[in-house]
Symmetry: C3
Subunit: 402 residues, 3 copies
C-alpha cells in the first residue's frame, strides 16, 4: 500500500497543537515560526504525539511503505477511495514546484527516514451521516473535497481548516493570519487573543454558525461553507467584530479599537467595536461598509457593500441607526442618525435615509421615500433580507422613467 511521506520541514505547526499537553506550550501559528525548520522540529519533538488522530498533508515525496509499520485505528478509515486519493496527490506532487520550505528542509527526505509521517488516510473520507448536521464536520468534508480538486491548495486548506480540532480554533487562526502585521502585530498573539475570547463568549460561535448558514443560504455566489469561511471578507470582518465587541464590552477598549483598525485596513470594513450586531448576518461584498459605535443590528439582516450606518454631529452618546430583524439594505446606502429601521424593512440601493422606516415597508431614493407613499406604504409579505430581492420595488416606483 502506498503512503505519503512528507518532509518535516513542510509540516504546518498548527497540526501538533492538539497533541501538546499544556495550552501554554502551543507552538505559535505565526508565519514567522513557519520560516524556521528548527522551530518546527522542536515543536514536534518537544511533546511527540502518542496516538496521532490526524496527520499532515503537505507537498512531499511519494514513497511506498508498509502500513503495518505505523498502523492507525481510525473510525473513518473505511473510505474505499483512500489509495486512489493518495495516487492523485502523488501525481500532483510530480508536477508542482516545491515551496520555499522544501528548499531549506534540513530533514533528508528518504525511505530510511524514521520520522516519516504519513498523510491522513481520511483525506477524502467523508464523515458518517450522523454527523452531517454538524457545520464543522461539513466544512472539513468540503475542505477535503476542495483539496482533491486543487491539490496545489493542500497546505492552505490543512493550515486553515483540517489542522484544527474545532471551528473556534480555525476561525481564530484564519482571522489572526489575515489581521496580523509582521513587525507590529504577530499572528500568534492575535490567535491566542481571538481563541481566548471565542472560548469564553459562547454567543460568538453560535452567531458565527448562523452567519455561515446565512451566507450559504442567501448568496447564490457562495458555493460552500468553507468558501464563505475562507474567502468572504464580509463574513470575516463580522466575526472579527464579534471578538472586538466582546473585548469592548469587557472594558478592553484599546485592543478592540486596534482590531477595528486592522479590519478596516485589511477588509475595508469599518465597524466600531461598540456596535451591537445580531446573528445570521450577511455582509455581501462588504467593501466600504461603515457601522458606528451606537448602531444596533437585529438578527437575519443582509447588508450590501458601501452601506453606512452613520452618526451625525460631534456629540457622543446614542447617535447611530437601529435596525430590526430581517432588514435588507442595498449597496451604497447611507442611514444616518439615531433612526429606527423596522423589522423586515427594505432600503433600495443608493438611498439616503435620515428618518424612521416602518416595519415591512420599502424605502428608496435620495432622499428616501416609502414605496406606495408615506401615508399608505406597501407592506412586504416576505422577509427582504432572506429573499435578497433588491429591485422588485421599481414597478411601484413612479419616478422611474427609463
Amino acid at each position: 500500500m502506498k503512503f505519503l511521506v512528507i518532509a518535516l520541514s513542510t509540516i504546518p505547526p498548527p497540526l501538533y497543537k492538539s497533541h501538546l499537553s499544556s495550552p501554554r506550550l502551543l507552538v505559535p501559528m505565526s508565519t514567522d515560526f513557519l520560516r524556521s525548520p528548527t522551530n518546527i522540529l522542536k515543536a514536534i519533538f518537544f511533546n511527540p504525539p502518542k496516538t496521532p488522530k490526524i496527520q499532515p498533508l503537505a507537498m512531499a515525496a511519494c514513497i511506498h511503505t508498509s502500513r503495518a509499520e505505523n498502523s492507525r485505528t481510525s473510525s473513518l478509515s473505511c473510505d474505499p477511495n483512500g489509495s486512489q486519493i493518495d495516487d492523485r496527490v502523488c501525481n500532483y506532487i510530480k508536477y508542482c514546484r516545491p515551496n520555499f520550505s522544501d528548499l531549506v528542509s534540513c530533514v533528508p527526505n528518504s525511505e530510511n527516514h524514521s520520522k516519516s509521517i504519513r498523510i491522513p488516510e481520511d483525506l477524502g473520507s467523508f464523515d458518517p451521516v450522523q454527523n452531517q448536521d454538524d457545520l464543522w464536520v461539513r466544512m472539513k468534508n468540503e475542505a477535503r473535497s476542495d483539496i482533491l480538486q486543487e491539490p496545489i491548495l493542500s497546505n492552505f486548506y490543512v493550515n486553515s481548516i483540517l489542522a484544527h480540532d474545532s471551528l473556534e480554533s480555525a476561525l481564530a487562526n484564519h482571522l489572526s493570519v489575515k489581521l496580523s502585521n509582521s513587525g507590529t502585530l504577530p499572528s500568534g498573539t492575535l490567535f491566542d487573543l481571538f481563541l481566548g475570547v471565542i472560548a469564553e463568549d459562547k454567543e460568538i460561535i453560535r452567531a458565527v454558525k448562523d452567519d455561515l448558514r446565512a451566507v450559504k443560504e442567501r448568496d447564490p455566489a457562495c458555493i460552500s461553507y468553507v468558501h464563505c469561511f475562507l474567502n468572504f471578507k464580509g463574513f470575516l470582518a463580522c466575526q472579527a467584530h464579534r471578538v472586538a465587541h466582546s473585548l469592548w464590552s469587557n472594558g478592553r477598549k484599546i485592543l478592540a479599537l486596534l482590531i477595528q483598525n486592522r479590519v478596516s485596513e485589511v477588509f475595508a470594513v469599518d465597524i466600531h467595536p461598540g456596535a451591537d450586531i445580531g446573528r445570521g448576518i450577511l455582509l455581501d461584498h462588504a467593501t466600504g461598509v461603515v457601522i458606528g459605535e451606537t448602531a444596533v443590528i437585529g438578527n437575519n439582516v443582509s447588508i450590501l457593500h458601501n452601506v453606512t450606518l452613520g452618526g451625525t454631529g460631534k456629540a457622543s452618546g446614542d447617535r447611530h441607526p437601529k435596525l430590526g430583524d430581517g432588514v435588507l439594505i442595498g449597496a451604497g446606502t447611507c442611514v444616518l442618525g439615531n433612526v429606527r429601521i423596522g423589522d423586515g424593512a427594505k432600503i433600495g440601493a443608493g438611498s439616503v435615509v435620515l428618518k424612521e422606516v416602518p416595519a415591512r415597508t420599502t424605502a428608496v431614493g435620495n432622499p428616501a421615500r416609502l414605496v406606495g407613499g408615506k401615508e399608505n406604504p406597501i407592506r412586504l409579505d416576505k422577509m427582504p433580507s432572506l429573499t435578497m430581492d433588491h429591485t422588485s420595488h421599481i414597478s411601484e416606483w413612479s419616478d422611474y422613467v427609463i
Copy 2:
C-alpha cells in the same frame, strides 16, 4: 525592589536609535531586521548607551534584582507607582504566551546575565504639567497609559511610539511599516525617505499636529491622540499624502506616485500627490475617498468616507474641485469638475455636485440642490466641518417625505 529583565532578542531596535552617534549608522527599523537576534545584538553593542534615558519594555521574565546594581538618575523616577506597574507587567507576563522572538532568543534569560536591561521606571510616570501642551508628550503619556491597560500591546506601543524621540520619527516609522511591502518596498527604505521629507518640509509636521487635534476634537469615536495616530487610516493616508505631495512638488514624481499607490492599496484612500490639502483635516473612516490631481482643499475641512473630488474628461490641466476652509462633505458624495465649494459650505451624504456651492450654504441630493433654494439659500452660522452636523438640513429639505 523588583525589576524586569528582558531577553535581548525582544528589544525593539528603534529604541537604540537615539544612542547611536551617527545617523547613517542607525539600525534599520524594518521588520526584516527584527527577525535576526544577531543584528539586534550588533546594534546594541555597536555603541552602547552610557546613560540611557529610556529602557525597553518587552515580554520578559520577571526577577528580583538589586536596584543599586544599575541605578538610574532619571528626572522622572519620582513616580510613586513604579513598582506597582512592574508588578502588573510581571503578572501579565505569567499568562501571556511569549512571542516568536522569545523562542529564538540566543541570550539566556537568567539573573546572572550581565546584559540585563530593566524596563523604564517611568513607564507609568506622566510628564510634568509644564509639558502638557506639547502634543508629542501627551501622546507618549497616552501610550504609557494604554500599555498599563493592555500589556499585551507593549511591544506595539514601544515600537510605534515610546521608542521614538519625536513625533516625526514615530510617524515616519508607522507609515513605513504600514506601507512597506516585503519583497518590493522595504520599510527601512520608506522610513528613511519619510523621515527625510518630514524633517525638511516643516509645514508637514505642523499640519500633522493640526490634523491630530482636528480628529480628536471632531470625532466622538476618537478616544485619544495616540488612538488617532495608530488606528485612523484616514489620518495616516492624509499624512502619507503630505509626504507624497512634498516629493511631487520637488519633482520626484515617480516616488510620489508609488506612495499614492501603496496608500490606495493599504488604506483604500486614493489621493493624487498633486492635490493641495490644507491643515486640520479630518478624513473620517476614509474608505473609498478619491481626490484628484488638481484638487485644492482648504483648512479645517471634514470629509467622510467614499467622497470623490473628481475630474471630468481626459484632458489634463486644472480639472478638479476647489474646497474652501471649514467645508463638510458627507459620505458617498461626488464633487466633479473644477467647481468651487465655498468656505463653510456643507454637502449632504450621497450628493452629486457638478456646480459651484456658495459659502456657508448647504447642498443636498442627486443632483445637488441648495437648501432654501437657489435664489435665497439658507446661510449656516456655524462651521459645518467643526460641528459635523450632517443631518439638520433635512427639516428644510422639502422633498424628504418619509
Copy 3:
C-alpha cells in the same frame, strides 16, 4: 572605465531565470527566497549563465575595474551615456542607506572578488526605433528612465520589470507579489499559476496590452505604461480577474474564487471570476468596484470607482448587467439586475440603474432618467468611455438647480 560591482546578496533572483536550462529548476521568485543569501548563491552557481544578456542593478559599491576583464558584446552597447549613468548610480549609492539584504551579505564586496557582476551597460540605452511599437520594449525603456530619476527604486524596478524577459512574466510576478499572503499563499506558487495560465490563454495578454493602452490614453493622471502597470490597482485587479476567469472557465473554481478573494482584500475590487470582461478596459481608481458572476462587459469600457454591476434576489442564473462596447459608468453608480446598457451609453456618477439604457444615450440620477427624456433621448456622437466626459450632460439635466 567605471563599473558597478554589486553584492551578490542583493541580486534579485528573477534575473537568472532566463539562464537556467530547466523551467522546473527556476529559482522561486517569492520574497521568502530573497531573504536567504545562501539560496541566492545556490541559484546563481547552479547553472551559471554563459553569455549573460542582462545584468542586475542593485544597491552596491562603486569601484573601478577594467572593461576588458569581462567584456560584453551587446547590440545595445552603443549608448553614449553609459558611463554617465554609472556615475549617477554611484553617486546615489553614496547617500543611500543600504537595504537589509546588504547587511546580511555573506559575500565580501571588494575589487578582488572574482564573482563581481557588472550592471547592464544598457541601463539607460533605449531600444532602437524599430522596436518602439512593442509595448514591452517601451515599458522597459520607461523603467530605465524611472531608475535614473529615482535610483532608490532600482531594486523595485529590476525585480518588477527589468529582470523579466516578457510582459507575461513581469505581470505574473507583480500580481503574485501583490496577492501573496505569507503563511498561506506563497508568491512562488501564485507566480507559477499565473504564468501558466497567461502562457496558455493567449487572449489574456492581448487584453492586458489593450488595457495598458486604454489607461494611458484615457487617464490624464497616467504618466507612462509602466506607471499603470506598477501602480494602478484597477488595472492589476482586472488582470488578476482575467486569470481567475480563465481558471473558472476551465472548471478550476476553487482557485478562481481564492484569487477573487485576494483581489478583493488587496485592491478592494470584487469581480466574480465568472464575469466576462472585454478588452481595453479602464477601471479608474477602482476602490469598491463590485462585478457579479453573470455580468458581461464589452470592449473599450471605462468604469470609475465604487461602481456596482450587481444582481438581485437569491436565485442563481443569469442575473447581472450586460454592458456593450464603449460604455462609461461614473463613480458610485449601481446597475442592478440582468439589464442591458447599450453600446456607447453613458451613466452619470451616483446613479441607480435598474432598467435598460439604449445605445449612445445618457442616464443620470437616482432613479436614473435618460437625458432628453425617455421618448426622445439625446444621442451621443462620441464614445463616452474614450472621452471620459462625465459632466457635459448637466446642461441638459433640468433638475440641476444650483
